[in-house]
Symmetry: C2
Amino acid sequence: MKLDQVRKTSLERMFHPRSVAVVGVSTSGDGFGSGIVTALETIGFEGKIYAVNPKGGEFRGSKIYQNPDEIPEPIDFAIIAVPAGHVPAVLEECRLKGAAGVEILSSGFSELGTTQGIRLEREIKEICSRGIRVVGPNCFGIYCPKSGLTLLPGPELSRVSGTVGFLSQSGGMSVDFAHIGKWMGVGFSKVVSFGNGADLRETEMLAYFEEDAETRIIAMYIEGIQDGGAFFSALKQVAREKPVILYKGGLSEAGGRAVETHTASMGGSAAIWESALRQCGVIQVTDLWEMAETCLAFSMLPERAYENITVAGGGGALGVCACDTAAQYGFRIPVLDPGLSEAILEYLPQPGSSAKNPIDAANPFVEPRAYREILLNAAKDDRIDLQILVQLMYHYKSLASGMGGVSLKDIVPYREMAAIASEVASVTGKPLMLVLPNIMQGKESLDIEEILREARKAFLDAGIPVFSDIRSCLRSLAHVSRFHARKKNETKKS
Amino acid sequence: MKLDQVRKTSLERMFHPRSVAVVGVSTSGDGFGSGIVTALETIGFEGKIYAVNPKGGEFRGSKIYQNPDEIPEPIDFAIIAVPAGHVPAVLEECRLKGAAGVEILSSGFSELGTTQGIRLEREIKEICSRGIRVVGPNCFGIYCPKSGLTLLPGPELSRVSGTVGFLSQSGGMSVDFAHIGKWMGVGFSKVVSFGNGADLRETEMLAYFEEDAETRIIAMYIEGIQDGGAFFSALKQVAREKPVILYKGGLSEAGGRAVETHTASMGGSAAIWESALRQCGVIQVTDLWEMAETCLAFSMLPERAYENITVAGGGGALGVCACDTAAQYGFRIPVLDPGLSEAILEYLPQPGSSAKNPIDAANPFVEPRAYREILLNAAKDDRIDLQILVQLMYHYKSLASGMGGVSLKDIVPYREMAAIASEVASVTGKPLMLVLPNIMQGKESLDIEEILREARKAFLDAGIPVFSDIRSCLRSLAHVSRFHARKKNETKKS
């Protein structure tokens, strides 16, 4: 489906509104409406915010308008957080005021399964048909880092734009992923939590993301769809160009029952979904973590298929496990050219290490400048497409305590490692991925956690994606690799 | 295989030595030998420690003996950390001194694949045949919380004994798991890192763990085995009574190559291993995390099969995902008896929540006393075997910042929740599992991490196993459930 100009303009006004009305703000500051005003102010929303409540009054020193019509300038967008029964009237007021669209945070509609709830949702649809767009009801709304629109509750979300567009039927999932993205290194163009989806839904948003220049990667959490034919045909079309990563909830009997009460959707059969998604070239994931990690890999890795990799790190079993896992995901860890292995061996402690690939440093304290030589040499093997580095940083804790009160920050060379990783990737043209497991998660080891978070940030800033375990690293790489292999294949065919 | 009394006595003397010689301690404090003396002192080893080095001298105010023979009393056990070439001579000295056994931390033996390395390892075997037991070489040794023997490097390991016996061909894996167990709540009877396994190996240790009253659960990381027939027949025998959780490394071509250089082992075919382990009733896991989580579930859950469960938590998509994952692992989430659902609904916020099962509180701030009633009511449904509670605690961070500088510790009711979970499990006789995901892992959110760690500790102390995500919780439960279903079935048959 192609979006016409009217729809496009409406959506752009909703994502980047110059002025927003928040309907349902109380003078006391209680409730979702007041919460969203505070969140918008905290995150630094770029437009104007007008609070609305029929009772009037003031909220934090600003006037509360008694209805949208009273607002002295045009509004692009409204956020509605009033009890379900009042929603249709408020929506109609927003339409008359000329808003392009609204998000309805309130629940109490078709997800209840009651006559009243279903009737109210029908009224919403009727008003939409007269010319206003609705996100929701029963949702957490829109998050757009560029404009500063944020989810409920989302005052702490990042203002840094990224390339992932995320559409989520679940509000909880949208806010969870937005939070995870912030530290994991996944940036968003737009996040839309659409809840019951009375108006704006999966197929239209997919078409929007397809055309949206800010969105390079599309992620979706879907509980139920409205028009299967249209959706799958849109998926097939979009997934040819942009990766579509889809997490389908409600594929079990009990899960299907749960989506009914959650977003008034129908679950569907696991086998049918899997086969349909595969045929469309969509990347199906099975939980939020896999979705986030896959988006990270797509965001940061060069767009191509990968086949042969190296694994380097301190600890033989880590290398063994990496090899086994790599094989499961279809990667090869070839024995390096003997000359290169010999060169690498010079930088490894003896005995106990191995330089064949996996490269087992057999010691967690190998210095960054040694890793530089190791990785540069390994990349000289023409077959190698990508390198994975595994670092177990907790051993520095023993080292620090042995050195008598030395701070971990002084001895863990994560900044140097990040700089070297970035240099190696850039010099060799072969990307690097970092695996940073946290083995010590006790109450007494928050210092390690802090260092790991600093290290993650330093590597991300240096352009290196970071994963918490080998499996998630390789699984994400496999998704990227398969997508690009398929794309290349299709381009050849056509 | 049955262990004879001589072997048993030797092993007991090795795990609980009254006196230990550490050979390879330098006056400077450098090297593994000195490190292990420090580690033994730090962890509070219960016996006497004698340092040995042909050069003599003192280490931290204590005499270094020039050879084991000089030590003024008998020794039960020795820890050898000298260059490979000196190992056979030192081993012979320990044998003459009457030690029951030694651990050889040094590497430089058959794992190198050199004539010299292979010859040295053969010499070790020859000396063993004259009456001394060896753990290693190329290993991290023995960790026994009860006696205070610890791995290299292991000064921070727990002194609290538990029921898991872990045998690991990899030193890194042994020390990683020992650290993970400490905070995850997995306690160990003994951990043995056996490296190249010149003497003591998988089959004999399995027989030891079978008979060991302190070991209720057996975990193994295996890279290669010596006598397949004997090992699988022992596995089959032992797995009838005690759960055996096995992680086989080196099942891929590259992984098999890596185990050769790591512990001089042969990898083997994935399909053959899988089928053989399944036939033996062994629980095969595919990484260290799954192994640790499975051990946790076996340690803390009552010994039985589980079929019908409830899932309760704040957030609809969490419930949907839990249902889908539960179905994948063969569990049912039945719709609760309508009367009980009605009773539960009274304790849930409205609208947006659901009490059918999954129980969606639709709000992360439902109070502990409400959860008490919810869980007590849900357990009244006769079909329910076990309950899973999912808590997303990061939302309290927004709450705290909205309340102006309130500390998270003051408002997250984890202690009350832990007490209630324990009470509910005990009153109803239906165990509870807690899922505690960490969504906010940024540098600025260490306060959430701290609370989560406090909460984990509180729940573990209250007898409730804690998992970081729904998948690992259900996967672990599935392992426990299948083991006991099989055991019950076999008992019926016989």
